[in-house]
Symmetry: C2
Subunit: 229 residues, 2 copies
DNA sequence: CCCGGTCTTTTGTCCGGACTTGAAGGCCGT
DNA sequence: ACGGCCTTCAAGTCCGGACAAAAGACCGGG
């Protein structure tokens, strides 16, 4: 059988983890590797390219490839739709709309979304339950200038997240994770004590450069996001 | 000039974001696309493969490629070494060792790291400062069965993170993010009030299947991790 | 009707060759 | 010493062709 690019990738990775090729050292050129593995240069290239994407090595034209000094540690977190996240844990999902209004955007929302003064937004507060216990509190603002259909949409049975992905196929987003503290209303909604530390995710989404929605997701007490790499 | 795989990728992505190819719909086969773009199938393949990696489309042999129903939202967070993180913000980095001991692993550490009873670990408590203000509190446990050199290493001037990457080139890790609350000692170290919510990262690292280190990083009040996608 | 085997389609991978691009290093004139 | 130009080299990309592998589709036997 021929050598696959996976074989080559695994072999090179092995040499690195076993310490044969130390951090900072130069790796043989693609041509040389292709010869030693008895494969085409394109195959070696694919292996090396993936190693570079994985943050294991660093590549530069002319200078060649070298093992990274400090392995670039990067973790990939999936940010699934809540319903999916809950169902994948084998729990029953339930959704509830707590509050809904159409208002002029308050200043702090305007600032975050980059709206002009006086623009109106649809403001929603929702709760997501897993097996009956509160899982996530959602505080969402939708820009009606971009999505006027959101003014009359009925969010009582369908969550805004689901509605949005059906109306905006794809978008850019900025997401940020922080810790916050439960105030009285959050505590009531999430069935925890006021003062409890809670994990909070904020996401602002834009479509063709225009702010579509800003959402603040506060998770139940003890929630953790996990990733492997 | 020839069409590059980037051109093709951008063009297809455009068709999707503009709604020409709706979520769930089938995308033309590679052969057909190669013809319309006037390029080789390998080039189209590269473009499609990357779109699949980015979570935009889904590919299956025989059935073809289709636009994802709900675009897989995944965010990549860089987990840099603290020193680098601080210096990249343009702040001055300072490190301090607070506590250091060699002990038998307490039960909760044993459980997390999967150690046998009676195994010894090096336990370190460190602080990382940015421009003089506390930035991160580090509570680290190193398995001396795997890294006996850690018993006598001097962590007074060099942080354990730096020491570790120099001694274990690469490793697998599980990382998990959660919110915690400042107790008295954390509050004192991080210059915040007891009861403040703090962002906490836990990471366990293994090398060739054996637990190397477990670390709990608690960030200063108000810290946030941000990513774009 | 169900079950397994075979066909066919589509993506996945590889090859060997070619040209392009970016950056390092040297050369030269000031 | 100091620019700016030119060479050179390694990675980056592309081509056209080929075979491999997965997974629907189809079909015949029980």
């Amino acid at each position: 059988m021929a050598v696959t690019y996976r074989d080559i990738k695994a072999d090179i990775l092995g040499k690195i983890t076993r310490g044969e090729w130390k951090p900072g050292s130069l790796i043989p050129g693609e041509l040389e590797l292709a010869e030693t593995y008895g494969s085409a240069r394109a195959t070696v290239n694919r292996a090396m390219r993936e190693l570079a994407e994985d943050g294991i090595i660093e590549r530069k034209r002319k200078s060649g490839s070298r093992v990274r000094l400090s392995p670039l540690r990067q973790a990939r977190f999936d940010i699934p739709i809540v319903r999916r996240e809950i169902e994948e844990r084998g729990a029953a999902y339930r959704y509830a709309l707590v509050e809904s209004e159409v208002v002029r955007a308050p200043d702090w929302v305007r600032a975050r979304m980059g709206l002009s003064p006086g623009e109106t937004v649809r403001h929603l507060v929702c709760l997501h339950f897993a097996d009956g216990t509160p899982y996530q509190h959602e505080d969402r603002w939708i820009n009606l200038a971009v999505l006027p259909q959101a003014r009359d949409a009925d969010f009582r049975s369908e969550g805004p997240n689901e509605w949005l992905v059906a109306h905006i196929p794809f978008s850019e987003a900025e997401i940020s994770i922080s810790a916050t503290v439960a105030d009285a209303t959050l505590a009531a909604h999430l069935a925890c004590a006021a003062g409890d530390p809670l994990l909070q995710i904020e996401r602002s989404t834009r479509w063709h450069g225009r702010a579509v929605t800003y959402v603040r997701l506060v998770h139940h007490r003890g929630h953790r996001m996990t990733a492997r790499y």
